[in-house]
Amino acid sequence: MADEKKKPIKTKNPKDPQRRDFLTLATGVVASTGAVAATWPFISSMNPSTDVLANATSEASLKGIRAGEVKTIEWQGKPIFIFHRQEKQIATMEGRGEGFDPENDSDRVKRPDWLVVVGICTHLGCVPLRKKEVWFCPCHGSVYDNSGRVLVGPAPRNLDIPDYKFIDPDTIVIGKEQV
């Protein structure tokens, strides 16, 4: 007798799902979705806060940077190299470069005499040092040319170009408004 009563509850016919199975599943799905959703505020709180985002732009004056000189300014806390290139430096940089991430020099500058790059090695985030006609990363030995293109690894790609625009011939604004 007892066996006969138990049997219909045990059978799992896909065409006739048991209500209990459905309720268990639904409860499980709702609960786990809720639990996952509840973690979002905590995960999101670890992203840059609004005051960090508010520092999204920096203004830099180009006055006083002589040809051949590099000035480092701060943007979002990162070093930005502003390089006033000489005629011969521009001339040698023309074309796609000798490195393994070829890119036209003209695509990397807004005005050929001013190179603006993020001064952070694309390998692991160290600040490259200016050495003669190249940038050299002291951490793992990457080398970049006068267009910020990588010549020697382990850096995987060229130095990044930030968003910037000339607001007048002697001033640039780096970054986009983010808030």
């Binding site: 992203n47 806060s49 960090v52 806390g77 990162k78 070093p79 160290c126 600040v127 951490c139």
Partner: protein, 422 residues
């Protein structure tokens, strides 16, 4: 006193617990001093937690104050120098003890059945320890702290698709900054307590499978002796020796493990000319640098830490124990230790000249020694059996075979009875 104890025992199994897990806990009588390092690690953990809590009473986790607050501890706080040097030297001591503990496990084959869970919880503890040490190293906010954190958080940028977003999320800023410092402090305070919890899991596993021993053979009951007083004394003696050496470094050479560059406040605009991680990360750092591709390097480094977990599967020999009865296992062990030292040298040297190929060869050898282990252990086993084993080892292997056959037989029987039922 007895009355109080009886009152407690009626409500909580205090006496029986102490008897079962400490005083009468059966321990192999042939344990050597290499078996001291587990309890030593526990003591160092306590030193770190206590000194760390007292440091936190004076430390300020703020990018503008952190460096000065550490100097304040060193100069103004009563015995602040001592507490700080205990903590910084303790980090080094922790890794020394843990690495010896791991090498002992590898040498004597203690990771093998039935101690896999011990080995894996140990692996988890190693990762937790590394994370805690890495985050703690940022807190003094010196140049090495800063650029170490910058480089290691950048590693996550190698993740395809959302690498950059992940790095920004980890740092809470576009570079390592105040947000990074405060969250590292919070986690550096939290993780040790998670480590304590994980240590308890490690110990529960230990007390279920019991200690391994230098012979590598499961001992008969008559070869076990109670933990107290035999091993409480042995552990305490080892602890005294440890504390003598530890005190020497705390009081006479505290700056041996703190790089001079770290007494320069963090400067996000300038990377020091030569950045080196702490000595305990050097071999892994060398592996990272030896792979020319960034993502490949990150994967290789992660694998070099986690690959130890595979040891119970890789070692396929039927000969019980570790190097005691296995000459080739012993040879590979020493070759591996030398290889780690070569990698440490490579990690500390500037990446130029012969250091680069040396690092690549050592990296190759590191992974190769894991890769050939399944085959080497099998070949060695056949050779050893052909040559003839000590009687005790043979008896042990036979009893293990018999147990296995017995289990197989019972499984088949169960299957048969099941079939009959249907």
């Amino acid at each position: 006193m007895k009355k109080v104890l009886r009152w407690i025992d009626q409500r909580f199994p205090l006496t029986s617990f102490i008897k079962h897990e400490l005083t009468e806990y059966p321990t192999p009588r042939n344990l050597s001093y290499w078996w001291n390092f587990g309890s030593l690690a526990g003591i160092v953990l306590m030193i770190q937690i206590v000194s760390g809590i007292f440091l936190a009473m004076h430390y300020k986790a703020d990018a503008t104050l952190a460096f000065d607050s550490v100097e304040h501890i060193m100069r103004n706080v009563n015995y602040g120098w001592l507490i700080r040097y205990l903590h910084s030297t303790g980090a080094t001591a922790f890794f020394v003890v843990i690495y010896i503990h791991m090498l002992r496990t590898l040498y004597y084959g203690s990771y093998r059945s039935p101690r896999e869970i011990m080995w894996w919880t140990g692996q988890g503890l190693l990762v937790l320890l590394m994370a805690t040490a890495f985050m703690g190293y940022l807190l003094p906010w010196g140049q090495m702290s800063y650029w170490g954190a910058q480089v290691i958080t950048s590693l996550f940028g190698a993740m395809p698709f959302f690498g950059d977003e992940l790095v920004t999320w980890l740092r809470g800023d576009f570079i390592v900054g105040d947000a990074t410092l405060t969250r590292f402090f919070a986690l550096h305070y939290l993780l040790p307590f998670i480590i304590v919890a994980a240590v308890f899991i490690h110990l529960v596993a230990l007390h279920s499978v019991k200690s391994s021993n230098p012979s590598g053979i499961n001992l008969a009951d008559k070869d076990n002796i109670p933990f107290h007083p035999y091993f409480t004394v042995k552990d305490l003696f080892g602890l005294c020796i440890f504390l003598v050496i530890f005190s020497y470094f705390v009081f006479y050479k505290p700056n041996l493990f703190i790089m001079a560059e770290n007494y320069v406040p963090a400067n996000p605009m300038q990377t020091p000319a030569h950045i080196v991680p702490e000595w305990y990360f050097l071999p892994f750092y060398a592996i990272l640098r030896s792979v020319p591709d960034l993502l490949g390097g990150v994967i290789a480094m992660g694998l070099s830490v986690m690959i130890f977990a595979a040891m119970p599967f890789l070692d396929r020999s039927k000969i019980p124990g570790g190097s005691r009865y296995r000459p080739f296992h012993r040879f590979m062990f020493y070759a591996f230790v030398i290889d780690i030292m070569v990698l440490a040298y490579v990690g500390a040297a500037a990446p130029e000249g012969f250091v680069i190929p040396l690092g690549q060869i050592a990296t190759f050898f590191y992974f190769a020694s894991f890769a050939i282990l399944p085959f080497a252990s099998k070949i060695e086993e056949k050779w050893l059996i052909k040559r003839g084993l000590p009687a005790e080892v043979e008896a042990m292997m036979q009893s293990e075979e018999a147990q296995k056959a017995d289990r197989r037989q019972r499984k088949q029987d169960r299957r048969k009875t099941k079939r009959k039922d249907q």
